[in-house]
């Protein structure tokens, strides 16, 4: 246990393989899609260059929000005085350590889109169109490049710094030796304060403004008050699945001796519950728009599923999304036995991560690619780049730090955890 964890060769091979495949995909896009060519007026100009940026936007935002959800998980369990997660706490910590890497990449992509004048991605960047558009003119105070840049920078920076503070508080306990009652109490208090700061900022970003700016503004005339929560639920459930996958990986390598089926059961419950929560938000958004039937609202769904007369290009993906992210988790994870099975949790976790990647795909593509969206090796290649980067960052954290927060005051509670 005291020996540092060594990554198996296959892990390294996959990490560099995925990053390599991703870099090839991006290079291919850079050369073949001419991404810096002028986008043309409004939507549907040069489809290939739009495709390049749309795919990068979808993947960077999705994977960044997924890894950031791991820190949110640590913070909410800390605030709730949770003890059960302590034995596995280093895994979400490791995942959240990727936030700076993906944050910088995401910021670079967002800036390239906004300052590169990609009106095919964000229609509100088109000054002429905004001036002649009553609705967009009204939203100019919020949807403008300066606010977008400043708020994106603040968001990513604070996720980074607050997450770093949480990780360093945890890592410091490894060196300090076991705590007595008073020191433990002080440490818990400090930890809780920082966790609350992160959570509040998380609410101001992921649960409200960030999905509006980064994704919802692709369809700038349309709005939904459900959208941010729906995005949050999507990335949180995928984040829980990612945590489960890394835990199972370490378990297979004989690590995390105190993590048992009891902990897996609770992670399974999170995946189950938040899959249903995601569906609830997805449906609330859909049904209210369907029911009230306002043209400016239904437009969003008409672009996806089409009308009764003519099916839309995303109809298949739209309903596939519902099957993978609702029907499969609810039916598979309903039984206690499957939530306690390492194999089934691995299967469902992979399914959920893929499913919500699809969810983000259908958030981004209809407003940018219209009828020309593709799901080819390029799309999967870019996803591979981000998966590889996550594996690289997480692997680095695993080898550099102890896998057990051995001096955490609540460790015993986690060891004897029983659901």
């Amino acid at each position: 246990m005291n020996q540092p964890f060594k990554l198996p060769g296959s892990y390294k091979m996959w990490t560099y393989g995925l990053i390599g495949a991703g870099i090839i995909a991006v290079l291919y896009g850079l050369i073949v899609f001419h991404p810096f060519e002028h986008a043309g007026h409004g939507h549907g100009g040069n489809t290939n260059s739009t495709r390049f940026w749309a795919v990068l936007l979808q993947n960077s935002v999705y994977w960044l929000l997924v890894v950031n959800a791991a820190m949110f998980f640590i913070c909410v369990t800390t605030m709730a005085m949770g003890g059960w997660q302590v034995a596995l706490r280093r895994v979400p910590e490791a995942i959240s350590s990727v936030v700076p890497i993906l944050g910088i990449i995401t910021f670079a992509i967002l800036m390239a889109i906004v300052w590169g004048g990609r009106t095919d991605i964000y229609h509100w960047l088109d000054k002429e169109a905004v001036a002649n558009d009553h609705i967009l003119n009204g939203k100019k105070g919020f949807l403008n490049p300066v606010l977008y840049t400043v708020w994106s920078a603040v968001t990513i920076l604070l996720w980074w710094l607050l997450g770093k503070k949480m990780r360093s508080l945890s890592l410091k306990t490894d060196k300090a030796g076991s705590m007595d009652y008073e020191t433990g109490k002080k440490w818990i208090f400090k930890n809780t304060v920082w966790a609350s700061l992160f959570t509040v900022f998380f609410a101001l970003t992921v649960a409200s403004t960030v999905p509006w700016l980064w994704i919802m503004s692709i369809d700038p005339h349309w709005y939904s008050t459900m959208f941010s929560w729906y995005t949050f639920a999507s990335t949180f459930v995928a984040g829980m699945s990612l945590i489960a996958i890394f835990i199972i990986f370490l378990k297979n390598r004989g690590q995390l001796e105190y993590v048992t089926e009891e902990h897996l059961h609770d992670l399974g419950k999170f995946m189950f519950a938040f899959s249903i929560f995601w569906t609830y938000l997805w449906f609330s958004q859909y049904m209210l728009i369907w029911y009230s039937n306002q043209p400016e609202e239904t437009k969003y769904f008409i672009e996806r599923i089409g009308t009764a007369e003519k099916a839309g290009p995303y109809k298949g993906i739209f309903f596939f999304n519902l099957i993978v992210n609702f029907l499969c988790p609810i039916l598979i994870l309903m039984k206690k036995g499957t939530k306690r099975s390492w194999t089934m949790i691995t299967f469902v976790a992979v399914l959920i991560i893929f499913g919500h990647w699809i969810d983000f795909y259908q958030m981004v593509m209809p407003g940018t690619m219209r009828d020309h969206a593709e799901m080819m090796p390029f799309e999967f290649g870019v996803a591979a780049l981000f998966i590889g980067l996550i594996m690289w960052g997480v692997g680095r954290y695993f080898t550099k730090h102890s896998l057990l927060a051995k001096n955490h005051p609540f460790l015993k509670e986690s060891m004897i955890h029983h659901t």
Partner: protein
């Protein structure tokens, strides 16, 4: 009273930490534990008693899909066959509008069904009575009732419980199931006990 009168050896424990090894030893000795009555839910006691996993959730799932089916078939029949109405120009088969109601009926069926099933499994119902092995089982004592067969030597069981740490031991002839009746006519009430 219905069912059968059986003989029980009853041991009362005042400590959870004594109860668990006692349950284990009683089972190992081959005695049949009728039930253990506790003032509050004791974590892991079901496991120690060797009770199988409950099937209540399977019943709940069946009730739930019954609710789903009922809601969907009834609404489809009403709005497409029996009394089609034009509501806001929506199609007669207006599935999204029915989902909340379907959800509610799913929850209602499973909740009510599970409560009733739970009552049945625990033999609880309005006006139905069960024998109380010790009134303090709802207060501060853990009461273990061991069922005797005609071959059981009850003095031996009593000694066994004594060694296992029971504070109070007695033998009772009691109805094992439930019955409809009145406690105040058929059983001495606690307030009539000496020392109340």
């Amino acid at each position: 009273m219905a069912g059968g009168i059986k003989k029980f050896v009853v041991g009362c424990f005042d400590d959870e930490a004594v109860l668990f090894p006692a349950v284990k030893n009683v089972r190992r000795a081959g005695y049949k534990i009728h039930d253990v009555y506790t003032p509050f839910p004791v974590h892991g006691l079901d496991h120690a008693m060797g009770l199988r996993e409950t099937s209540l959730h399977t019943a709940g799932f069946i009730y739930a899909i019954t609710g789903t089916t009922t809601a969907l078939t009834f609404m489809s029949w009403v709005f497409t066959k029996d009394w089609p109405m034009d509501i806001g120009g929506k199609p007669h088969f207006a599935l999204p509008a029915w989902i909340p109601i379907t959800f509610e009926l799913t929850v209602l069926f499973s909740a009510v069904g599970m409560v009733l099933t739970f009552c049945y499994l625990c033999q609880l119902a309005p006006f139905v009575k069960k024998h109380h092995f010790h009134p303090r089982a709802t207060d501060d004592l853990f009461v273990m009732a061991i069922e005797c067969t005609d071959k059981t030597n009850d003095t031996e069981v009593q000694e066994f419980l004594q060694n296992a740490g029971a504070k109070e031991i007695n033998v009772q002839h009691a109805e094992s199931g439930w019955w409809i009746g009145r406690y105040d006519k058929e059983q001495k009430l606690y307030r009539d006990e000496r020392g109340y």
